[in-house]
């Protein structure tokens, strides 16, 4: 007997019940649950710039990998609206715990895009101070960060940093995860903990339809957002390619968390237009037709269409393009200049001190370095 097959890919990816505030053709609509009357053209222009720069970071890094400058790159192509919309909903005092693909969120948190490269060039494991940006280091173990976000949110509760009605003081956390992560035990445990303590955490799931090659339907029989109900909190499905909707929904969920209303699960329905990583070959597990269909829902094109209809000038688009070109050049230059790590230095960050046995091993490594240098000379 063969195992029962799951439904065909796409069966859970329909657009029903999706919160959408900007249709693929660039038409704005409103949803009384997520008021966005305050969002004016200038703000959308800012997001357009964020989206374009995020895409440029991604395509530039992809090219750097193809030129052998990076060992690996996980493309975020197609997921820019989910990342920018949610990232721009955060306040400075909020804390975000990302995966390894959330380049657009990192950008929104003020991480310099050149700092995204070290992990993938192999020069560093973590390139920024998480406390400075209130943005964690990329998490490679799938789902592990959802517990860290929940624990941090519990700390916010212990600190009394929730529920004052003070926008400068009240804080929340956001945990980024993907559709594959929803099968991990850590994610289930984080849902339990968050619900039990009513922790101020938003779980932002970018459902990009595939966990490397395995389609969503192997992970779940119900829409991901529906899972939240079983844990006792709200789940929302949002068009993940709609930056306005992602922003509005995340803004509301974060505010609920800051007000003491507990966790929310947001399922941002999107699509990974590129490969899982530069080592992957998506033609083995999905059709060109499917990818073409999603291309028509591009997160940037719809914002451009909206802005053009609203009277944004060609100069505006040209200036964003020029800025993206500058950023691309800066990334290429910075990548080549990333300092090489020194193995001997790494011994001192295993612990906060250097125990004698480890010091002896460092001396060993230093002696080998000296020998190698002599050999090279």
């Amino acid at each position: 007997m063969t195992l029962p097959m799951t439904p065909q890919p796409g069966a859970l990816a329909g657009e029903h019940e999706l919160v959408q505030l900007l249709s693929p053709d660039g038409t704005r609509r409103h949803d009384p649950r997520f008021p966005d009357d305050d969002v004016e053209r200038e703000q959308v222009e800012g997001w357009y710039r964020d989206l374009v720069l995020t895409r440029r970071i991604d395509t530039e890094a992809f090219a750097l990998q193809r030129h052998g400058e990076l060992g690996l790159w996980p493309p975020a192509l197609g997921q820019e609206a989910a990342q920018v919309g949610s990232g721009r909903a955060l306040r400075p005092q909020d804390f975000a715990f990302p995966t390894y693909r959330d380049h657009g969120v990192a950008y929104c948190r003020g991480v310099d895009p050149t700092q995204l490269l070290g992990l993938f060039r192999g020069t560093e494991l973590g390139s920024w101070d998480p406390q400075e940006h209130r943005y964690g280091l990329p998490q490679i173990i799938i789902g592990a960060q959802t517990l860290h976000a929940t624990g941090y949110a519990m700390g916010l509760l212990l600190d009394g940093a929730v529920g004052h009605g003070d926008p400068e003081r009240d804080a929340a956390t956001i945990a980024y995860l993907g559709d594959g992560a929803t099968s991990q035990g850590d994610v289930a445990e984080s849902f339990v903990w968050a619900a039990s303590y009513q922790a101020p955490v938003v779980f932002f799931c970018q459902n990009n339809q595939y966990a490397i090659s395995v389609p969503l339907e192997r992970q779940t029989r119900v829409p991901i957002a529906q899972r939240a109900a079983g844990f006792g909190f709200e789940g929302i499905r949002v068009d993940g390619n709609d930056v306005l909707a992602c922003h509005a929904v995340t803004r509301a969920a974060l505010q609920k968390a800051r007000d003491g209303g507990g966790p929310t699960l947001i399922e941002a329905v999107t699509y990974r237009m590129g490969a899982h990583t530069t080592s992957d070959d998506p033609t083995r597990y999905r059709t060109a037709d499917e990818t073409e269909q999603w291309k028509a829902k591009d997160p940037i094109a719809r914002v451009r269409a909206y802005l053009e209809a609203e009277g944004a000038t060609p100069d505006f688009f040209a200036s964003v393009e020029a800025e993206a070109d500058q950023l691309g050049a800066r990334l290429r230059e910075a990548c080549a200049q990333l300092p090489e790590p020194d193995l001997a230095d790494l011994f001192s960050s295993v612990h906060t001190d250097l125990p004698p046995e480890l010091a002896a091993q460092r001396d060993d490594a230093v002696a080998w370095q000296a020998l190698d240098e002599r050999g090279a000379a």
Partner: protein, 326 residues
């Protein structure tokens, strides 16, 4: 000098209380540690005295406990989490190995992880499966973790406080079968620091090396041997990672014979590392190969036969004889 008589479990309780009074960022988390005071009552009355925000009864999930503790660390807290039994730590293994052990290294030292994971460990209490294990070597071989084990009430009182003060993550292995054994605790002076091994008994004929629950067994073996005119030195390692082997090497160079004793299974247990290190450092002083008295390489057996599995005074003395007759 201020001494009090305490049980080992009571001494950990007193040490936790002292640490919590000193620093309000110290929070306790675990299953049943609040209202119940823990299944071994090690956290007895702490929730009553410090409140539910400082002593948290968590949902039942070890990965959740350790993973949320990592988040609390990021927020500036110093969590002390209890894993209810040794055999329940494995669901948290990924968070311990992939996150707790690596965060400081991953962040190039920017993130400190002052997290203590308390694990009652070892057998000899007639328990059911998964309640008598000795997984310490799995944490010792995990770079980035520190691992300690106390053997006396005095050490229990001080070592738990020093572990909490450490800015590195510490796996704190508690010898559960010794929880009820009493001893004098000098609450004014810790003596040696957390990372030092100590000589518990002086002797000239062979060196017994142990930690946690086996220190008492080795001291009993030394008492028995003394009746036969054999003087055994007993060293309590206390810190398993990093190891403080200076006193061990000094001792073995004098006695010429070393016997390592632990409850954990033999293959790649701590005895393997100790045997290698002693051979490297004391090769010309050794009169015999380093002996190992350990649990057998089987899963922990049904409790009716655990006394055959666990190192006993007789097995230790037999290993001493083997070393002497080599």
């Amino acid at each position: 000098m201020t001494t009090q008589t305490m049980s080992l479990g009571g001494a950990i309780n007193a040490g936790l209380r002292a640490a919590m009074e000193r620093d309000d960022r110290v929070v306790l988390m675990g299953e049943d540690i609040g209202r119940l005071g823990g299944v071994f009552r090690v956290t007895d009355a702490l929730q009553k005295d410090f409140g539910e925000n400082r002593v948290m009864d968590t949902p039942l999930g070890e990965s959740g406990i350790v993973g949320t503790a990592v988040g609390l660390v990021t927020r500036g807290y110093r969590p002390v989490v209890e894993i209810q039994f040794d055999g329940f730590v494995y669901p948290a293994y990924d968070q311990l190995v992939s996150q707790v052990a690596k965060l400081h290294f991953r962040s190039a030292g920017r993130i400190r992880v002052p997290l203590v994971v308390r694990i009652p460990f070892g057998g000899g209490i007639g328990a059911v499966e998964h309640h008598s294990e000795s997984p310490e070597a799995q944490f010792v071989m995990t770079a980035g973790l520190k691992v300690v084990s106390c053997a006396t009430p005095h050490d229990a009182y001080w070592m738990i406080q020093e572990a909490i003060e450490s800015d590195d993550p510490v796996i704190f292995m508690e010898p559960k079968r010794r929880y009820w054994e009493k001893g004098e605790v000098d609450t004014s002076d810790p003596g040696v620091d957390l990372w030092s091994s100590v000589v518990r008994r002086r002797g000239s004929d062979a060196t017994l090396i142990a930690y946690g629950p086996m220190v008492r067994t080795c001291l009993d073996a030394a008492t028995t041997a003394a009746d036969e005119g054999i003087e055994l030195e007993v060293i309590d390692l206390r810190s398993l990672s990093p190891l403080d082997l200076g006193p061990v090497f000094e001792s073995v160079r004098r006695t010429g014979r070393a016997v390592v004793v632990h409850e954990a299974q033999r293959t790649l247990g701590l005895g393997a590392e100790l045997s290698a290190r002693i051979s490297e450092e004391c090769f010309y002083s050794l009169e015999a190969p380093v002996q190992r008295v350990t649990g057998y390489d089987m899963p922990y057996p049904p409790s009716r036969v655990e006394n055959e599995f666990l190192p006993s005074v007789d097995r230790i003395l037999d290993a001493v004889d083997t070393a002497k007759e080599f």
